[in-house]
């Protein structure tokens, strides 16, 4: 008799008298539980999401499904951090394997698959045993991290502890059931069960056998019940109560409905002309996807760990803000649903749930979105709150007031006269675009390049490069206005649209096809946001353009710069537009220049602190973000910091001065370095 038959011969009584009734009962109850789950899903989640405004997220179904499968099963977005990723991966796959084994066994009894015994049972047993082992290892890693290491980003609630505890009890009682059954038929009599049920087999060696068959039957019955009943109630707890474990369905839903646009692209206010209110005052003014985002947040804290505002002691933690908004939704949502629409008195989000300092501390750097494993969109949510404050309540700081006033009056954030926009071009021989014969490209200088003394040098370098390369280019001159990025990120959508429409009209009037920008903010706005208003142009950033010139041989870099340089990735060039290689190619083309990376680079880069309109706001709280970024460059012993953004250049230039490193370190735009090397 082989071991399988021997095992089954000893097990028949347990199957027919104990397991079969319990399994049938479990399945019946489980069907009921699924019905309750469907009801609670509708009541606790779906209805709340649909308090929000409509938004189409059902396009490109195949792409969405592909992302969902990749992110879920390979943990695609997790592996930036090895420890928590390994931990979650082990628990996730462990649970999947346990369920695979359990499902085979659950359904094999009622359909008679195991009578006569078949090998599938052995494989199912092995799979769930290994699954359990993975969960134990992953669970131990998780418990060690949460209760011993205690990283500040993790918020441990009593329900987290309960889930670990309950899960451990279920695993233990599960292994005990099989271990006891193996012990009953004599563990040594079926030695190959070490391969098919390794953990249970080892445990079985420690079990004491009761003297009579009926007593053993009774004990097995007890053991199965002690495992199955808490398991069923665990499902009930997880399915029906809002536990952190509900992320097992909320996160995949959120991943499926993620934004397919590039990061950082803001949606315009719909029906702007007829709208009675703008932005978001209360929770139901968010879209349904934004409300789903709140519920999908797993409180993992990855966003908090990368947020420059949080790391410099500002009162902003993207994790905490999302959790607070989630609690606001859970508190206010049911009240809104129970009241007739005309009698609803929704509580405002600002002040009680989100503080003003918290909101304005955001630099729109998108590091939180990049870090989020479930694609939660934080930036658009913050901008919606800003839109309400700016457009409806006109409630903002004096810095913002001045910036917006300057933009309205002078079409640049500094309030400099429009007529001074081309002052920097004196003696450079730069022509206005409409005056150039057969122009190839419009050089969009931007406000920084036009007015800021440090960035005027960058614009000058770029002009010299263009002239040296024989490119037929022109500028808009005094007709150029702010691209609208500061107004839009501050929340003044009206001003953005006015500015953008004026620019689009001018460029269309001049017959502009291709635009070269120095500034990633202008680049992003012109390339990705102007099409929303009908401005479709081919937009190229100067790092891409310089790379093309160098690769094609139009630009020869011969003079060496014997320095160690680190490159600072601008948020709107890197994270938003995925341009990481072009700047590095340029630096590698310059003879003598040695490129080293800071700890945070590429899509993990650290903001300079100027995005989201922060360039024009004072930084009163905590450490200055630009100083922290400068420290990161000092750490790698760089002599130069290379940038490709006027905001970053200004912030790092200031950072170097503030840190007292001006003697040993300098910040340059890449075009300046290229010009030096020509």
């Amino acid at each position: 008799m082989d071991s399988l038959n021997r095992f089954w011969t000893g097990q028949e009584v347990y199957i027919t008298k104990i397991f079969l009734p319990i399994i049938i009962g479990f399945l019946i109850l489980f069907i009921g539980l699924l019905a309750i789950f469907a009801l609670s899903f509708w009541r606790q989640h779906y209805r709340l999401w649909h308090l929000g405004k409509e938004e189409n997220r059902s396009d490109h179904g195949a792409t969405r499904l592909k992302t969902l499968l990749a992110v879920t099963f390979s943990h695609l977005r997790f592996w930036k951090e090895l420890y928590p990723s390994t931990m979650h991966f082990l628990i996730f796959w462990g649970v999947i394997l346990i369920f695979m084994g359990k499902i085979v066994r659950l359904f094999s009894y009622p359909v008679g698959l195991t009578n006569p015994p078949q090998n599938i049972f052995k494989y199912a047993s092995c799979v769930s045993e290994i699954g359990g082992l993975l969960v134990i290892v992953g669970g131990c890693l998780a418990v060690y991290r949460r209760y011993v290491v205690k990283p500040p980003r993790l918020e441990t609630k009593p329900t987290n502890t309960l889930i670990y505890f309950w899960g451990a009890v279920l695993l233990m009682t599960g292994y005990f059931v099989k271990g006891y059954r193996i012990a009953l038929i004599g563990g040594s009599a079926v030695p190959d069960w070490l391969s098919w049920a390794p953990v249970s087999y080892l445990i079985s060696r420690f079990f004491l056998i009761l003297p009579t068959q009926p007593l053993n039957e009774l004990l097995v019955w007890h053991r199965v019940l002690i495992h199955a009943l808490p398991a069923f109630l665990f499902f009930a707890y997880v399915f029906i109560t809002r536990t952190p474990l509900q992320h097992f369905f909320l996160s995949p839903i959120n991943v499926f409905f993620r934004s397919l646009r590039l990061k950082g692209i803001l949606a315009p206010i719909p029906n702007f002309e007829e709208a009675e209110t703008f932005g978001v005052r209360e929770i139901s003014e968010y879209t349904w996807k934004q409300l789903l985002d709140l519920e999908a947040c797993t409180n993992c804290g990855r966003c908090q760990d990368v947020c420059p505002a949080h790391l410099t002691q500002k009162p902003l933690s993207p994790r905490r803000m999302t959790q607070n908004l989630k609690n606001h939704l859970w508190r206010e949502g049911p009240k809104l649903l129970s009241a007739p629409p005309d009698q609803r008195q929704p509580e405002a989000i600002m002040e009680k749930t989100v503080g003003e300092d918290e909101l304005w501390a955001c630099t729109n750097c998108m590091a939180c979105e990049e870090a989020c494993p479930v694609y939660i969109e934080q930036i658009s949510r913050n901008i919606d709150l800003r839109r309400y404050l700016v457009l409806v309540e006109t409630k903002y700081s004096s810095d913002i007031r001045l910036t917006l006033k300057n933009l309205e009056k002078s079409n640049n954030p500094w309030g400099m006269a429009r007529g001074l926009r081309t002052e920097w071009t004196k003696d450079l021989g730069v022509k206005i675009f409409s005056e150039v014969t057969d122009p190839e490209i419009l050089f969009w200088v931007g406000c920084c390049g036009s007015y800021d003394a440090r960035n005027q040098k960058v614009a000058t370098s770029m002009v010299k490069i263009l002239q040296a390369s024989g490119i037929r280019f022109g500028i808009l001159g005094n007709e150029e206005g702010c691209c609208g990025d500061p107004a839009r990120r501050i929340g003044n959508e009206y001003l953005f649209q006015m500015t953008a429409e004026a620019n689009i009209e001018i460029m269309k009037g001049c017959g502009v096809k291709k635009i070269l920008t120095l500034c990633p903010h202008c680049f992003h706005t012109l390339k990705n946001e102007y099409p929303q208003l009908g401005g479709k142009f081919q937009v190229i950033h100067h790092t891409q353009f310089l790379t093309e010139l160098i690769s094609s041989g139009k630009l020869k870099l011969t003079k060496p710069i014997n320095k160690v340089i680190t490159y600072h990735d601008s948020c709107y060039l890197g994270r938003a537009n995925q341009i990481f290689d072009a700047p590095r190619k340029i630096l590698k083309s310059i003879p003598g220049l040695k490129l080293i990376e800071m700890e945070r680079h590429h899509n993990r880069s650290f903001c300079c602190g100027a995005g989201g309109g922060r360039m024009w706001m004072e930084e009163h709280i905590g450490t200055r973000i630009n100083q922290m970024r400068t420290d990161q460059a000092i750490e790698v012993k760089a002599e130069l910091i290379g940038t490709a953004c006027p905001y970053c250049l200004t912030m790092l230039f200031d950072g170097i001065k503030e840190k007292g490193e001006a003697e040993t370190m300098a910040a340059f735009d890449l075009s300046e370095l290229v010009e030096q090397s020509m």
């Binding site: 009682t173 004491l208 009761l210 809002r242």
Partner: protein
Amino acid sequence: MEGFFRPIAIVVEVVILMAVIYSLFLGVKFSVLDFGLEEKYKSFICWVFMIMGCLALVFFIAHLITFYPRLSV
């Protein structure tokens, strides 16, 4: 030998059973609070479950001492 193992086996059983009971009661407590029961009832629920837990503990100990069979090692 038998007299030595039986109390240990009973203690192990009691620990497992109380772990199950603890999980269930805590789960029920969190669930009812999540379903909207006011926070002021939290301590009342705690006391009720603590008393029920103590009763369960006494029952398990008595039940196992009375019915847990003699062991043959």
